[in-house]
Amino acid sequence: MKGAFTYLLLPHLWSSRNRAQRRERDDFTRALLFGGVAAGVFAALLYGAAWLTWQLDDYDELGDYLLRLGLSWIFMTFLAFLTFSGIVTALSTFFLSDDLRLLLTAPVAARRLFYARFTRTVAQSSWMVVVFITPVLLGIGLARCAPLGFYVTSALTIVPFAVIPVAVGTACTLLLVNVFPARRARDLLMLMGFLFAGSIVILLRMIRPEQLMHAESLPDVTGFFSTLQSPVTPLLPSFWAGELMFASLKGGRDFVHAGALWSTALALCVGLRAADERWHFSGYSRSQEAPKARFTKFHTLDALARVLPLSPVRKQLLVKDTKIFLRDVSQWSQLLLLVALMLIYLYNFRVLDLGRIPYMSGVIKNIYAFVNLGMAGFVLATVAVRFVFPAVSAEGPAFWLIRKSPISMHDFLWSKFWTGLVPVLLLTETLTIAANELLGVDPFLKIVAAVAIVFLSLALVGLATGLGARYPRFTADNPSQVAGSYGGVAFMILAVLLIIVMIVLLGWPSTTYLMFKLRRMTIPTARLIMMATSLAAAVAISIATWLHAMRSGVRALDAMSN
């Protein structure tokens, strides 16, 4: 056992066991929250996959064809995801992980270390895919009353299917790290990854899939599906996996594609091991080098801060937070993806063809204004959980600097709040105003939506800052990890609830007003009072959420200092 590579995985297993045995406060709530969310997603995916498969059943051979194509495309999507995930994970597990400092000084054979690290890389990169694909395949299997062999084949397919792209990703990392220092390679990868994801999203949107909804474009549907097939697809493991799954769904066996999957996975493992034995140490050694980093000094930012009417403490906190954000590629590069999504969002409103429903277009436009408000709220919540919620945790091991300084936790947390609020408000306000303008909604709704976003921003940014202070994770490796923590998930749930409440409270008086306006009637005083109460309630709830969350955050930070 001690000579086997699995021995090197023991500390992680023991650590998990110890973590589970030593329960902390809130553990039960945490488990309930995560378990509930996971169960909900699992059930939704299972039902969605089953429902779609049932629908396809009605189309006989075309249904089968589409299911086969769908399986291949699901695997194709995961193939791209796993390759990129493999590159990023391998960078950490093979080169940047702290425990390598211990393992590499021990007499551990390179081959043994490779197998342990590769197993960890595959597990870390693919668990999300496995969690996602399990209910999907289960749903398809249940809908088609698939034989037991289908489920066994699923397990036997997923393993080599995950190994292949992760091995390719690891090989890319090995190459990259031997060319660039690992930390620079990580920055480069992050940037490339988000640029790639952004361009894919824009490209997919530019195909204008909504055209397929028109009856007159039916011939295009066949053309559309034929474009999904290309001469390259049969050479990809995603195609083999799709074919294998489809054959077993039909009760058959497909040894050719099973053989292709397993032999490719094994061959890649052997090849990668040889490459790792040859180049890992030189790559690791390079990753330890810390050449003088090139960075931007942001003199303009310093000059700008000097003229801002802020206290010296707030000024310095603002400058520090902004510089750190802008110098960390993994942080700001995610904004590129966000901008791409925003452009698509606005583009959707531009191409929305509501003129096709002449009598209803006015009503639908105004309903869309609230859909837009909900979407803007959701964008706001996403940006807040990713960029504002981790603000306190981002201080990391340097938080002592704040605690030992003569700054009150109140000042510190409010500084974090304002730093987060300004960009978030600008972003979502632009989004809402532009979308409503493109839609051409009623001027009254434009004003309601614009004002609502101000209060929603105050509430959600306040909630994110406050909860971020109540549930900080100073030891997290990156902000995404903080966003995915218990506090982050709790924030998202509360944020969605708040958005729903706000839409209800704003929607009812607004639609009532529009109805009366449409009928050219005067609104009765009693109704007016109820409408005003509803709007006032929305404002009060936002302000209460904002201030309560901030106060609770300050209290938590104070308690930490005492």
């Binding site: 001690k2 000579g3 021995y7 023991l10 500390p11 023991w14 650590s15 998990s16 110890n18 973590r19 030593r22 702290d98 425990d99 400092r101 211990l102 393992l103 590499l104 000084t105 021990a106 007499p107 551990v108 054979a109 140490f281 030189s282 050694s285 330890q288 080098e289 810390a290 050449p291």
Partner: protein
Amino acid sequence: MIAVHNLVKEYGTFTAVDGITLDVRPGEIHGFLGPNGAGKTTTLRMIAGLLKPTSGRVEVNGHDVTKEPELAKASLGFIPDRPFIYEKLTAGEFLRFHAGLYGLDGDGVMERVHEMLDLFELRRWENELVESFSHGMKQRLVMCAAFLHRPRAVAVDEPMVGLDPRGARLIKDVFRRMSERGVAILMSTHTLEVAQEMCQRLSIILKGKIIAQGTVDEIRTLAGGGDDHLTSVFLRLTGGSALQELDEAV
């Protein structure tokens, strides 16, 4: 023994270690001194097999670290300046795992683990998570791990940092006892009193180069001092004696 021949480490155009040669004989405690950024840690990391030298050779007990890394590492105890410990393991689990890495197996392992925990006064915390340990306790745990497999050579980077006087005394005694038993110890330190008290020979490194090597007396002579304290000799050799205008700065 630890033998380093013409060791060079370059980071791009910067040479961190520039042709170092040193030899730590069995039973010798060799002090490795130098100002911050002189190249001490880089040299030790190359000896431990964590960094690939640009050129030169490192041998630990006759095994070339590059050509026979497993054999070299198996006979070396390395204590880094920033050691890694799995925070969610208990002290006992960490040592058991460490023993396994060095191929220690069987009934004797737990006995040896307890022996080390007793020696470094950590037995009471055997079943506590490492994350609850103080810096000094972690430092002692790392020493337990490094000596678990009875290495014949030891490379240690700043062993006294974070230790209380009792802990520091303990480490000194352990090193002395090990050296009496023939273990070669290469110790990097900034605490010149420790170096003066414990080391038979010293190497002083500056800007990647060894600028003085020998016994404390030989180094004093080399620096042109009489009975000067090692601190004055060190400052004279490394050019750090020019004091700033303290009044102004304070």
